[in-house]
Chain length 467, copies 2
Amino acid sequence: MGSRVLVIGGDAGGMSAAAELRRRLPESDEVVVLERTERTSYSACGIPYWVAGEVDSADDLVSRSPAEHRERGIDLRTGTEATAIDVDAGEVTICRAIPAGVPGHGPPDDTEETMGYDRLVIATGAEPVRPDLPGIDGEGIFGIQTLADGQEVIDALAQKVERVVVVGSGYVGLEMAEACTLRGFDTTVVEQRETPLSILEPALGEKIASAMRGMDITLRTGTSVTGFALDDGHVTGVEIADETLPADVVILGLGVVARTEIAQKAGLPTGAKGGIIVDSTQRVTGFDGIWAAGDCVVTRDRITDELIHVPLGTHANKQGIVVADAVAAEMLGEEPRLEFPGIVQTAITKFCNLEISRTGLGEQQARDAGFDPVVASIDTTTIAGYLPDAGDLTVLMIADRPTRRLLGTQIVGNRNAGLRIDVAATAITAGMTVDDVVMLDLAYAPPFASVWSPLLVAARATVKLLN
Amino acid sequence: MGSRVLVIGGDAGGMSAAAELRRRLPESDEVVVLERTERTSYSACGIPYWVAGEVDSADDLVSRSPAEHRERGIDLRTGTEATAIDVDAGEVTICRAIPAGVPGHGPPDDTEETMGYDRLVIATGAEPVRPDLPGIDGEGIFGIQTLADGQEVIDALAQKVERVVVVGSGYVGLEMAEACTLRGFDTTVVEQRETPLSILEPALGEKIASAMRGMDITLRTGTSVTGFALDDGHVTGVEIADETLPADVVILGLGVVARTEIAQKAGLPTGAKGGIIVDSTQRVTGFDGIWAAGDCVVTRDRITDELIHVPLGTHANKQGIVVADAVAAEMLGEEPRLEFPGIVQTAITKFCNLEISRTGLGEQQARDAGFDPVVASIDTTTIAGYLPDAGDLTVLMIADRPTRRLLGTQIVGNRNAGLRIDVAATAITAGMTVDDVVMLDLAYAPPFASVWSPLLVAARATVKLLN
């Protein structure tokens, strides 16, 4: 008789692992996936584009449906939530009592049952931060994480809505603010810090603030939300300092935390934002037979070795195949081939006509990690300046003074700006100095770059500061 | 009294060196530049966009004019050609007899004079290959290298022109063919090989061929030009096999060779395509006091160590600052800070709606260099497939079987495809394996990439072939 791999969670991390395991393992081994919603393998990052109307339906955001996974031999149980893990017994408690807001699902039955496993993969994802403020449970206040969340927001915006307040100005906050403005709503963003998008240095954040104003998005920075005004249980305003911002719909863009309550209750180790601590094969540290992947884990920063929580589908997918490789290798008596080497905090987003990206460490992060950072910032054009499509871009580069090593890069600019961050991410991963970067053989032709490509210009400016 | 640095050539390599030298050296030292045309620091790569009408005038392609250079203290002699170098005497023969086709210049005087130098920088550039075929000297047959060449083509196209034949389908050939088609001319491209753009693998070349057909450019592959039909000295056709293709204007896109006749006559060492051989500080090998930069030199390939001729403004600019650093260091008694580490053959172009790029080695190049190449090719979307702007792209990846090292990458695709090559160029420079590439933390957000970024997809496919 074969053994059973039980995967909790059917989005990026879980389904990547399950799909790869199904390919690697013999048919006699079971691959069971428990997914609390009715959807699998979807792009939560696509929700703002769905809300904006650029994407027609939630189905478009699904890269592989439950039916497709089942066809491939995965025993996928949707509408099924794992409520407890018994590590000693090798058993998970499951419940088909679906939480509110999962569409297309019949009436819940409250049956709790247990399911044994030989190997367990935890991929429970993350959930939006809901600060414990007066009124937070009012109707019309939404976090954005699952497609069900997206559907709820879309349904809410289809009611009589004039004013939307977005709390927080991270990626999701900005993307949702833009989507709401595009849909014609009067939109306000409230941010605790002085500039939006705190993963950027303030000087670049200013550019985002200015783009927001250009789009008639009201931006309230340096101000904290103290509560929500409700009328008959429905939100009517967001309270800040001594003022109430009227709101028919509130979107929470305060980031997410790992969804690891059951892991914590089972005694598994967790770190930043509740992320489960794993080794380089994604095995839960100190526990045999249990792996974890995706938004529910912490990940090593490749520069600082710090364990951080960076919930992104791209990491989840890679971690999923690392888990599958480790689990399959153990079951098949082979050597694992893959390790997840960690991340360099690369991120990108588009806001209005700006492409925004970053990688590595910010100035303060670098200082906190014991580096002696120098910061250079340059303005140049996205492509050869004499071509009609040329736009502007700013590149900020951070290097370590004694070692001259590239530590971080941030970019804000027009079309053709953002993806250049991938070069910096690769250079940081390789441990290059800014001198190395100056001499990189990057692509040059007028429709793509000036003869000194923007990253080379930034590296030269950084070198100048170092010399 | 100070010493004199004499620079021959006032485009990218020469003027980068001169400008940087002027900044570094005391005023008592002279920086003299001889430039045979009346223009400096121009973008030859921009000529096709000028011909297409996307750029209004040649002036737009000039990043710094003679007047601007002179204001900065450079003794710039335009309309002045160096005709000989006497290495032993430390002397250059100069002549103000301007070759035909240099606009804006008074009648030539034939005075030859000599000018002594303490240190010499050769930056004579490259010139289009003009094959020794019957009729090659006919009017209406143009190579594209200087702004004067561009002006001649524009003037010729302003006459009664219906049919343009482009000989060769390299970057310049393709870009000029597109420009001519956009201007409404009946355009034919003749290529000796079976697919256009020979720096791509044939499978990708096929995609270019298909784009050309879609643009109503006639493509004749596998055929060589045997001569040119002339009428009253003016070209009327291009002869191939037993056929004459009617042509009012012919554009030569057969590549360039280094313009190093005077260097060769002076006994300086040259290699591929006549490029001057230099060391890593761009000093001419075996000669003290002489440096060279730009399209007139050969350059080390960072993978194979082979010396190759890759004339590109981006290399010329870097080599120019390396020369300046070496010369200034020697004059000021300092240690040089810079070395030119070589290139990885990165190149990019845009043709019709396709972005085309490559870096590293092609399959045959890899084999010739003693590697055991595996080649994977994948098709994916430029950005998240569910967004309305998503286009197609193909990534071809080449790795060395025993070491798993990334050797080369080629990309053909729609908008947002081409610049991804820079990641591969950086990874190759760092000596990464394809396994390393799979785990790179590249930017992910729906408007920029699928959750598996195209290069990661290609790297996974390559790994699969290796395992």
